[in-house]
């Protein structure tokens, strides 16, 4: 009986260790389609992560979403200093106020001076993430909408990527 119990424990340990070892940490980069947000030109960025082959190959074997960063270039086309804000949701909203009321904010950029442009790199992009748990859940789901708003007058031009670090079975 004792021998069987020990054998069972050893087998269980071997299975757990094997499962644990057969994983890898991946860094995936997703292009966020869209380039401009203003009150009169405002729309959702549809994100479907399954269009990325690496994500698709590992989608069913994701163990954890370890980090997410928003990177890229953002231009403030107004005469006021503002910060870009990115909201996430599954729903379609047609005006900025509805987004603020219902979606979840996941990124606040550094302040962008009036009529100026900033570039957010990987390290910076990591440090400006908000509500990481909601973002993780949406990334595991694979499909969501992003809305780019501003802390002040809304007239932003942007080219953005999403960098996702995740651990998955190989």
């Amino acid at each position: 009986m004792k021998k069987a119990l020990l054998s069972g424990l050893a087998l269980l340990l071997a299975v757990v260790i094997a499962g644990c070892i057969a994983t890898g940490t991946l860094v995936l980069v997703f292009d966020l389609e869209g380039s401009h947000s203003s009150p009169g030109d405002f729309e959702a960025i549809d994100v479907d992560l399954s269009t990325n082959k690496d994500y698709n190959d590992h989608k069913d074997k994701i163990k954890s979403i370890d980090a997410v960063a928003v990177v890229g270039q953002i231009s403030n086309n107004t005469s006021s200093d503002v910060a870009a804000e990115i909201y996430i949701s599954d729903e379609v909203y047609t005006d900025p106020q509805a987004v603020r009321d219902n979606a979840t904010i996941v990124f606040i950029s550094p302040t962008i001076p009036a009529n100026d442009t900033i570039f957010v790199d990987w390290s910076d992009g990591l440090s400006h993430i908000e509500n990481f748990d909601e973002l993780k859940a949406q990334i595991e789901d694979g499909s969501f909408k992003l809305y780019v708003l501003s802390s002040g007058p809304l007239d932003l031009s942007y080219e953005l990527n999403l960098i996702v670090t995740m651990t998955a079975g190989v």
């Binding site: 260790i17 940490t25 163990k63 954890s64 980090a67 390290s123 440090s127």
Partner: protein, 186 residues
């Protein structure tokens, strides 16, 4: 020949006694290479180890290691005029642990080959990432050449696995060389 027998016996016993109770202190350094981790690159590390060999085939050791990873890189805005490589922090790792050494881990002069297995507290700090603090495990072989008067030169390889939340793990390959001072019979 017979009159030398007691002397030969004493010499053998002396050697065994050394192996029975060897204590050594060592420093080492080398390569810290992440395996299957795209968010870290190879770095370096150093360590300190106190080893006690109570019996000829077995030793126990406590160690501390301070290691770093290289900064990972990724290409963003691919295919656009803004395409560029960006980096994040590889971070620093501190490890406190204990390990068992099987084989020939003693302090007698000559070569000593052993196999080790250990457990350690693993802490990885990176700028803008959540700290990772977990229990890790490692296995690997080592070879030490001990010269008079008790100085050993050692090389060892560790395969390290650190289980993480969600059923994944971090895996590293560590290649170290170092020197030990054997205090001998205590």
């Amino acid at each position: 020949m017979r009159k030398f027998l007691p002397l030969i016996v004493v010499l053998f016993l002396t050697g065994s006694a050394w192996a029975l109770s060897d204590i050594s202190f060592g420093v080492y350094g080398g390569l810290n290479a992440p395996l299957a981790q795209e968010d870290a690159k190879s770095g370096t590390g150093f360590g300190l180890r106190l080893k006690v060999a109570p019996i000829p085939l077995l030793a126990g050791a406590a160690f501390f290691e301070s290691r770093s990873f290289g900064d990972p890189e990724v290409t963003i805005m691919a295919g656009t005029p803004l395409e560029q490589t960006t980096t994040s922090d590889g971070g620093k790792v501190t490890v406190f642990g204990a390990e068992a050494l099987l084989g020939s881990p003693g302090g007698r002069f000559g070569p000593h080959f052993y196999f080790m297995a250990g457990i350690a507290n693993y802490k990885w700090k990176r700028d803008n990432f959540e700290d990772l603090s977990k229990v890790g495990f490692h296995i690997g072989p080592g070879l030490e050449m001990v010269f008079p008067p008790g100085i050993g030169v050692e090389g060892k390889v560790k395969f390290e696995v650190v289980p993480t939340d969600g059923g994944g793990s971090r895996k590293n390959l560590l290649l170290f060389v170092g020197a030990n001072y054997h205090l001998g019979i205590m």
